[in-house]
Amino acid sequence: MNDNILLKMENVTKTFPGVVALDEVDFTVKKGEIHALLGENGAGKSTLMKCLIGMYSVTDGKIWFDGDYIENYTMRDSIEMQISMIHQELNPVLHKTVMENIWLGREPKNKFGLIDHKKMYDMTLDLFKRINIDIDPKAMLLNLTVAKIQMIEIVKAISYNAKLIIMDEPTSSLTDKEVEQLFIITKELKSQGISIIYISHKLEEIFELCDSVTIFRDGQYVDTRPISEIDTETMISMMVGRKVNNLFPKDDFETEIGKVRLNVKEISDGVNFKNISFDLKEGEILGFAGLIGAGRTEVMESLFGVNPITEGEIIIDNQKTAIRHTDDAIDNGIAFLTEDRRKTGIFPMLSVGYNLVSASIDSYKSKFGLLNTKAIKEDAEAYIDTFGIKTPSQETNIENLSGGNQQKVLIAKWLLTKPDILILDEPTRGIDVGAKTEIYRTMAKMAYTGKSIIMVSSELPEVLGMSDRIVVMHEGRITGILENKGLDQQIIMEYATGERDDFSDKENEVLEEELV
């Protein structure tokens, strides 16, 4: 084997009951390179990585690491072989300190066999110095941001002297600044000879950071290329197997915007947001932009009856409407695709069929209150077809589907409630390009048929690409409601950070000017 090669996986196949997740794929990583692994959700990236770290055993195929042929190993073994993975969803021990998390289960001991906290502290600082980060080793994890917790995971990987670090969508919940810092650290690791496998859907990141890229599609290997010999368009067409012409298909529809459907007047929940007022018209897509923690999700939760409002009123079709519980919202024609698919979206162990009808199940009641299971089956089948949901059958548990397909199920679920107002909270988070365009197209189509859509999103290109108007929030308040004409990311960011504010108290402003 070539000296330059750190990892070689050959003809790897992995099957699950009813699904072939990986079909004879190859994957090779060189020493000291940042290698992107790219593919749509369900392409098999995560499965391959889980095989690599010993979480799954491969059904067939061979793996060499650092010159040795390896097989039948556990996750523990893989850590000892110096392979580390930074998972997409981090599972730290929140009630312990930074250093305790890093050295969990292998704490340095003093001569009495007790934990030597002083030594642990010094060892932690040494590691931090290696990649120039500044965190207090004695801080509780509870009080740290996601970005910092992620860095601690990276430090943990280094503490095992990892030769290979796998990063699974590390930037999905980071701010731009934090992403920058992550990139600096990642490049630092590379300069120390560590290889990185970088999984991400964000193509611009891959171009900025990676040396080469391997593309998977539907559990099969497509190609591996140096980053300099590939462009965005080729990457996308390799991922989806066809050309994607127009990412935001909104302009394909000539949608007419009608009268006001929803009017929100000065609502507050007493904690997360106050004095929120906006309206939403028929056929309109209203974007909600803002930084993480600006209170956008909380506003939507209150509109939908998940949490109560303490002040203000909600007017739907000129009728003052009390929404005390989520079924009031559904009865009033509101649908709510939540931000966190796993936590508040899917019923993981239940079938795709049930997940589809879970919000509209009462409409299938016949006389005697029994469900018309035949109609449920037919509708589920029809929506699986229309939305192109890839699933072995509607009896399959939804947890076995890829993220993009789960999201399609959830969107279909809400359309089955026949809503007039759709609230979509981060509708394309963690979803690949192919599924994204399909979701955009569905949104545009819905607006065209007269439905009103609120789209909360932290991805500015999608907000700018899809919205008719954009509401920007900053720290629980609306700072701007903007017509989407001649806007750019810069302007929205100014509103999102509170630099610009169209609704600030005028008197205060005057006062401030006088003081200056």
């Binding site: 099957t15 699950f16 009951p17 009813g18 699904v19 072939v20 079909d23 939908f304 998940v306 519980h325 989520t326 079924d327 919202a329 559904i330 709510f336 939540t338 936590k343 508040t344 979206g345 899917i346 019923f347 993981p348 162990m349 239940l350 049930y354 879970s358 919000a359 199940i361 009462d362 299938y364 009641k365 209150g369 029994l370 469900l371 299971t373 072995p392 679920k413």
Partner: protein, 340 residues
Amino acid sequence: MQTEQTEAQQILKEKERKANYTIMAKKYLIVIILILMIIGLSILNPSFLRFNNILNILTQISIYGILSLGVFIVIVSKGIDLSVGSILAFAGIVAAAVSQTSAAIDQVFPNVGMAPIGITILVALLMGGILGAINGSLIAYFKIPAFIATLGMFTAARGAALMVSGGRPVSNVNPSISFFGSRLFGIIPVPVVIYATVIIIIGIMMKFTSFGKSVYAIGGNIDAAKVSGIKVKRNITIIYMICGVLAGLAAIIHMGRTGGSIQPGAGMGHELTAIAGATIGGTSHSGGVGTVWGAVVGALILGVLVNGFTLLGINAYVQQIVQGVIIVAAVLLDMRKAAD
């Protein structure tokens, strides 16, 4: 080129088919175990398969089988109910106390006379329902963990049964109650008929009503259930209430079988047998997973085991050890299923 592709597809299909077989085999594993047990016992002791013995087994399991179905619903909703045995005792004692024969009641309240049997049934079901609803409300509205809330009820309801009865068995119950321990047409035991009816009703409820589906949804992901417009708190209360009503029903059968008397200690330990039955039947304690037929097969396995071992003359202590092993083994199999 084309043949190559079809060949690849065939291999793929073959792989999928094999995977599907394993799913099927695992799904019906407990049925296979039950059948193997029955075959084994019939070979060892041919009298096992006699018609009367089969009816005997079914009669024996009807009480905790019914309790097991209630607990099954609770476990699917990701809860637990430790109180069904105590609720059985309390509901039975109260129902027995209001259903005394004229001769007995005249000594305290002359000229009141005996209450109709309908009152007995109603009171038993009502008491069960009320205690169950208390369990459910504590869990749904006051956010008390199900284990704690029903542990409290386990202790308190038993205490209440002892208090109402003064610690003594209550007898002299309306003789019509013996109907619930008798045999229809002299052949089919009434407890078995009731058990079968409950199986059918619960079966329909879990599969063909939106309430039943919501039980799976609540157990599967309570936050998503709330967002989907399910009245989570109300439904949790109803779930525990149903469990309580079934405990009341079990109390009626209990009194029927004892010929009209009930002790304040009745149903002791039944809560654990009920949980065991549902668990052996593949009801997952992580919520959202379980079938009615599974819970029934689970109860049958326990019944067949006790009956078969008794026929074979194996001592009761050994039976208990085997029961324990089976419960753990069933969950172990279940977890391996989940891990794959």
